[in-house]
């Protein structure tokens, strides 16, 4: 599905797995530098030097919204940004249904956390801080036409 929605995309060949994005994300949302609290997750296989990035795709008809029994995962009608609020009780049903691994778990607070595209700031901090230029914030359509994205982008 192609829409005009802006999303954070990753160019995996430029990602070194430094997790600066995840740390910055945790700082922006929770005030602590802890990559486990990053809404973007960088999994790394050190042996094979393989990095794998997971973050929310802000899906249309998102399965997390179906799954949230509290009703605290909501989609903004204007921007299409999906957010989770503090009513979350940590039932993990959203984690169970998200095909992109975009729902992360805050184990200390026992709540689900997810990317909100830093809607209260000027733009996603992960994109700002990535020293390798591996993250880009673009409209979905661009991903098809720009040669910039010629390398595989990642969900």
């Amino acid at each position: 599905m192609i829409t005009k929605q802006k999303l954070v995309y990753c160019r995996p060949t430029l990602c070194s797995g430094c997790r600066i994005c995840a740390n910055a994300c945790a700082v922006a949302h929770d005030g602590v530098a802890n990559p486990r609290l990053g809404r973007i997750a960088i999994h790394q296989n050190l042996l094979e030097r393989y990095e794998f990035q997971e973050l929310c795709r802000h899906c249309e008809d998102a399965p997390c919204i179906d799954a949230c029994m509290v009703g605290c995962i909501e989609e903004d009608e204007g921007t299409g940004i999906i957010t989770n609020d503090d009513r979350c009780v940590g039932c993990w049903m959203c984690v169970m249904v998200c095909p992109y691994g975009g729902m992360r778990r805050d184990l200390a607070k026992q709540v689900a956390i997810k990317c909100d595209q830093c809607k209260d700031l000027s733009g996603p901090v992960c994109v700002d801080v990535c020293p390798n230029g591996a993250l880009v914030y673009k409209e979905r359509e661009d991903a098809r036409v720009e040669p910039f994205f010629a390398g595989p982008t990642v969900a």
């Binding site: 192609i2 160019r11 995996p12 060949t13 430029l14 990602c15 070194s16 999994h43 296989n45 094979e48 030097r49 393989y50 794998f52 795709r57 008809d61 399965p63 919204i65 179906d66 799954a67 029994m69 509290v70 009703g71 009513r87 009780v89 940590g90 039932c91 993990w92 049903m93 984690v95 169970m96 249904v97 998200c98 095909p99 992109y100 691994g101 729902m103 778990r105 184990l107 026992q110 390798n132 979905r140 991903a143 098809r144 040669p147 010629a150 390398g151 595989p152 982008t153 990642v154 969900a155």
Partner: protein, 464 residues
């Protein structure tokens, strides 16, 4: 029953829970004006049914029980008839008959009457302090009976029973669970998983009595005082919750022209055998993806999703439902438990399966994947959820996963590469052609063992 005596609407919905809300939201995406009327015998603004366990625990207060904001019905222009029972469906005349004697004429009807709790034929179920755990009112009733040092017994160690037991304990009760079968959560986990969960419960201080049935609930002055088990042992208690399972609530359609199986069978557009009557949620029998057959998959995510699809079809946009999946997620003592699809093939008599297990019982970790014909059919994740969302997606798509069978639980890079490819297709579309020349500076050299990966993958990515 004259039609003139009642009101009429475009869309009538029976039940006011997950499936109903999903339907309202999607009908309004297509049809802004068609009158929607919701009838429910519960008086409450829509609340989250699973959350009653958290309410019982004292974790969630009254003002947070609402599943949708207070102005939901106004915003979606929905007429509500709460506190009323639908007693009969007149399918030929397209009327609902309510218990206040009024009728409601509809064009399209959604039956989302959900599940109903089974009540075993036991002596003493009418005593005060004995109840089921299905509605907000049930939960409030139990909370109102709470005194300090309350002793409580839950009959049935299914998901609802354990959630209730956990909630009671959080609120301060001393809880025992009595289960007829030899293990807990027998419809959610396999034997090994069950035993792990039982040990987690026992360590947490909940007494679990498996392989025991209740002979009688005893009381004094109309109030419950204890339980007598089949072996003659007695359990003293002031609260008894009966949670011996739920069945689809098909009372309304029994003896009508609407076909009933275990639930109400529906087609991929959620139509029953009467084409303007739809069913969704716990009451509907839909196509189960891993089992490739009809099945009632009663859980919240399915109910909302099914309501959403049913609403689209009711409003005339015939979107095909791909099928449902049995799934459960619950968290006990901060240990997450997820089960998906066919998690215990032996018990269903399904053979020729390939099972992968990763277990570390000291750390309360147990993970299991079930494959058949190189496709994922089911999974269990306890303690460590791993890539359970991706696994659920692979079960739902029934993708061929032969080459990553060993990589999923081990979380090897083959899994990453596989998921990356799959997600690219999903997000960018299958028809995207990636230009051959990609001339961005490669600042990080990555090594890769060419031998260990397939031709296909090697071609997809510029390895260096």
């Amino acid at each position: 029953m004259g039609i003139g005596s009642g009101t009429r609407c475009e869309y009538a919905i029976v039940g006011n829970s997950a499936a109903a809300i999903g339907a309202i939201e999607s009908i309004r995406k297509i049809d802004r004006d068609g009158g929607i009327t919701v009838v429910s015998n519960e008086r409450h603004h829509v609340y989250s049914r699973p959350l009653i366990a958290h309410y019982l625990a004292g974790e969630v207060q009254e003002e947070r029980m609402a599943y949708r904001p207070a102005d939901f019905y106004e915003r979606y222009n929905v007429e509500t008839r709460f506190g009323l029972n639908v007693t009969r469906i007149d399918a030929d005349g397209q009327n609902l008959i309510l218990d206040d004697g009024s009728t409601l004429h509809y064009h399209r009807l959604l039956i989302s009457t959900g599940s109903k709790a089974m009540r075993p034929p036991l002596k003493g179920t009418d005593l005060e302090g004995v109840g089921i755990f299905q509605t907000y009112d049930d939960a409030r009733q139990i909370v109102s009976r709470f005194a300090t040092d309350t002793k409580a017994v839950v009959i049935g160690a299914g998901l609802i029973g354990l959630r209730a037991a956990y909630g009671l304990q959080e609120r301060g009760a001393e809880v025992s669970v009595v289960e007829l079968l030899p293990r807990v959560l027998s419809r959610v986990l396999d034997a090994r998983g069950s035993h792990l969960v039982q040990s987690i419960l026992e360590k947490g201080g909940i007494r679990v009595l498996t392989g025991r049935s209740v002979a009688e609930i005893s009381g004094r002055n109309g109030e419950v005082r204890g339980l007598i088990l089949d072996n003659g042992a007695t359990l003293e208690c002031r609260i008894v919750i009966i949670a011996t399972g739920v069945v689809p609530n098909v009372d309304l359609v029994k003896d009508t022209i609407i076909k009933v199986n275990r639930g109400i069978p529906v087609n991929q557009f959620f139509q029953t055998n009467v084409s303007n009557i739809f069913a969704a949620g716990d009451v509907a029998e839909t196509f189960d993806i891993p089992r490739a057959g009809g099945m009632v998959n009663a859980n919240w995510p399915n109910a909302h999703e099914q309501g959403r699809y049913a609403g689209l079809c009711m409003a005339g946009k015939m979107v095909q439902y791909p099928g449902s999946l049995g799934m459960n997620a619950v968290s006990l003592y901060n240990i997450p438990i997820v089960s998906l699809g066919i998690f215990d093939p032996e018990s269903e008599g399904i053979n020729q399966v390939d099972v992968k297990i990763r277990a570390n019982l000291e750390q309360n970790i147990y993970q299991k994947l079930v494959f058949r014909d190189n496709r994922l059919k089911g999974a269990i994740f306890i303690g460590d959820l791993g890539y359970c969302g991706a696994v659920k997606d692979l079960i739902q798509d029934q993708s061929l996963v032969g080459i990553i069978k060993d990589s999923i639980l081990e979380e090897k890079y083959q899994l990453y590469a596989f998921l990356r490819k799959k997600r690219q297709e999903k997000v960018e579309g299958k028809d995207v052609e990636w230009p051959e020349t990609y001339s961005s500076p490669q600042r990080y050299q990555k090594s890769f063992n060419e031998e260990s990966w397939t031709e296909r993958e090697r071609d997809e990515r510029p390895w260096h």
